[in-house]
Symmetry: C2
């Protein structure tokens, strides 16, 4: 009988969000009239901007005509989009990224899940704790770990604790690793890294030969001056880093699906004989063998965010969500809760009161305030005692959530 991939059986019981879904459905079953406010999964709520809709409509009209029809596009993405990204996301900010170093995809979850394939199964990985579960789970599936312990930590993974003491900034590992996942602005803690902090990572990678997998899916939410939006703002990063970017949160594309990764030509790994190999070529091969390009109307919509109208609309959405973040932070602070993040990131990371566990607080918030958040422990052992609230909600709902938390959660 066909042998399955046994590594899948190591995966801990549930991906975080399905477990939240299960508890919420249970609550709703028992309380059918409760009006839930969802600040959990971090999904955008504002309608797609007119500039994006218009561009997608035009693309569909093209596809409906003899002259305008397009079939298979380039697997790496259409030049019109790759060039717009290179120009507006990088060149305009003085960052060197060429259009042919950009690979357009249908989402950052896919990209950050698939990237590990081009590295050896024996590669040692390091991940922050707490962390976006996809980085870990996809490496478990690929056989780079042993079994999880009682706290969900997999044997073989080098965890980088992110705690209040270190400002939620992971420290470079003391032992050699091959791949390091980093995410700034951070999901789930909302923390950002200064240029100095990132330089430590780039220096570490240059010294040890590690490759940094830098997830910048939330860079558009950086509000303060002087904080790097891209790892490539750090000198030398082109030799050691891959960067992940997404239109999901920036432009409301969670249901439309478009993202991209950057692989500089200088980046190299080594083969079994110790010979250097260009990572760009490996990913290019992977991308063109297992992917057939993002949907054309979707790519047309993504390119529209680089028009003046599109930029203004994207900016106003981001400001809307960041005002939500401030309302959440202020509200929690008012009732004496300690919060982190939410200034340059759409997530507020809060310490649970009275030493409650993350899931205890989750259940209490659900039951008392009918607000759905995300338990920090779901992101890793060091997330225990913390809780994530997302700024992706309608204003009136965010305000109502804060009011309910203030009125119902004390005492």
């Amino acid at each position: 009988m066909a042998r399955i991939n046994d590594h899948y059986l190591k995966l801990a019981a549930g991906y975080l969000f399905p477990e939240i879904g299960r508890r919420v459905r249970l609550f709703q079953g028992e309380n059918p009239d409760a009006e839930l406010i969802r600040l959990g999964i971090g999904d955008v709520v504002l309608p797609l901007s007119p500039a994006i809709c218009d561009a997608m409509h035009r693309a569909i009209d093209e596809l409906g005509t003899e002259e305008g029809f397009r079939g298979y596009g380039p697997e790496q993405g259409y030049p019109f989009l790759r060039e717009a990204i290179a120009e507006h996301e990088f060149k305009r900010n003085g960052i060197h990224v060429d259009a042919d170093e950009i690979f357009v995809s249908d989402g950052s979850k896919c990209d950050s899940g698939n990237i590990q394939e081009i590295f050896a199964t024996a590669a040692k990985i390091a991940v922050p704790d707490p962390v976006y579960p996809v980085y870990v789970d996809t490496n478990v599936m690929a056989g780079r770990t042993g079994m999880p312990d009682a706290e969900g930590r997999y044997a073989g993974i080098h965890y980088l604790p992110c705690t209040e003491e270190n400002g939620f900034l992971p420290k470079v590992p003391s032992e050699p690793v091959d791949l390091v996942y980093l995410c700034f602005p951070n999901n789930p803690t909302g923390t950002v890294a200064s240029a100095a902090a990132l330089k430590e990572w780039v220096d570490y990678a240059r010294e040890t030969g590690a490759v940094l997998l830098y997830d910048a899916a939330y860079e558009a939410f950086i509000a303060e001056e002087g904080i790097p939006h891209s790892i490539y703002e750090i000198p030398g990063a082109r030799e050691v880093a891959i960067e992940f970017r997404s239109f999901s949160k920036k432009a409301g594309f969670t249901g439309v699906r478009c993202a991209y990764i950057v692989i500089p030509k200088e980046l190299r790994g080594t083969d079994a004989k110790g010979q250097p190999v260009e990572i760009h070529g490996l990913w290019s091969r992977r991308h063109s063998t297992k992917f057939n390009g993002a949907s054309y109307p979707v790519q047309a919509g993504a390119a529209a965010i680089y028009t003046p109208e599109g930029e203004a609309e994207v900016r106003s959405h981001i400001e809307y969500y960041m005002t939500n973040a401030k309302i959440i932070r202020d509200g929690l602070t008012q009732i004496g809760m300690e919060t982190f993040g939410g200034v340059n990131a759409p997530y507020v990371w809060a310490k649970t009161p009275q030493g409650k566990s993350s899931w205890e607080f989750f259940d209490e918030l659900l039951n008392k305030a009918q607000v759905v958040g995300t338990p920090g422990a779901g992101f890793g052992a060091h997330g225990e005692g913390y809780f994530r609230l997302s700024a992706f909600g309608k204003r009136e709902q965010v305000e109502e959530a804060v009011t309910r938390i203030r009125d119902r959660m004390i005492g």
Copy 2:
């Protein structure tokens, strides 16, 4: 330094289509005025149908409103699409497939490339020869093979020769294998399998415990009565087969991107201890960890092919392409070439004249007739001496191609 996945280095020089592209660009550089007719890659040319365009427009309008906006959709696809597929593709034809056994994706290339992940690295695979290169390459990347020989055959793969002698129908292997890739109507040979031929495979799989990976991407092109459109028409197939389906060729979605796979709940593999494991659960985990759902407007467009207007439009496109196939077959037959396929499949598989090699004939056709086809050898060693022409072209171009071949290729 980060160790790469060395298996990538085993991959033969180029994926077939990039190599064709290289030769065509070379020719165009030397003959800038030549009017090429492309019947190679098998990409659709007719505009997207009005019913599909309308549905996509409506979906985008929804996304542009407060009430209609949708963010993350279910990873497995929206119920409206899964239910429409279950009803129209299966139930209506008396085939048992439930909506929750259908996983919607952004393309069959992804699905047929990713499916191997949920099986053991040690799993032994069998593939027809000639074959769609993605099945082979993705297994090479995953480490299930050794190096290729001079004819491009990878050590460790069990090849199933498809020859004129066996009617291009692969025979069940004499040695045990875990996974068997099958594709009917076949790419590249255009062959179909009778229920009796498929029953042999289902019986084999049931006896040995092998899993059949059945690619039915071209089922919509079956014109003759009595030929199975789905592997699940064969009794017992639900316990042994996964089926791949695509909107790409059926509905002109090569640039829009939508496909799906079917995994019946009865299908099981075994873990390292010999215990049975449900394949449906494994794929569900893979799909929800590494994929975030197909684009909503795309899924809305796909569902539109199941409306009466959509069905009629899809039907007329298929008839158009199948008339092309007949024109190609008749034209080649007229000049004495032996052809196969093209009756229930959009591909005509032709024997090269005078014992020419596939690539010799490719170059000759390009140089003398400015027609781009696909050399059979690009699909595997047993494709040598054959040539694939695709029926996906504009009528006038197909007619012109046949005229040129008749006038310029003789002698």
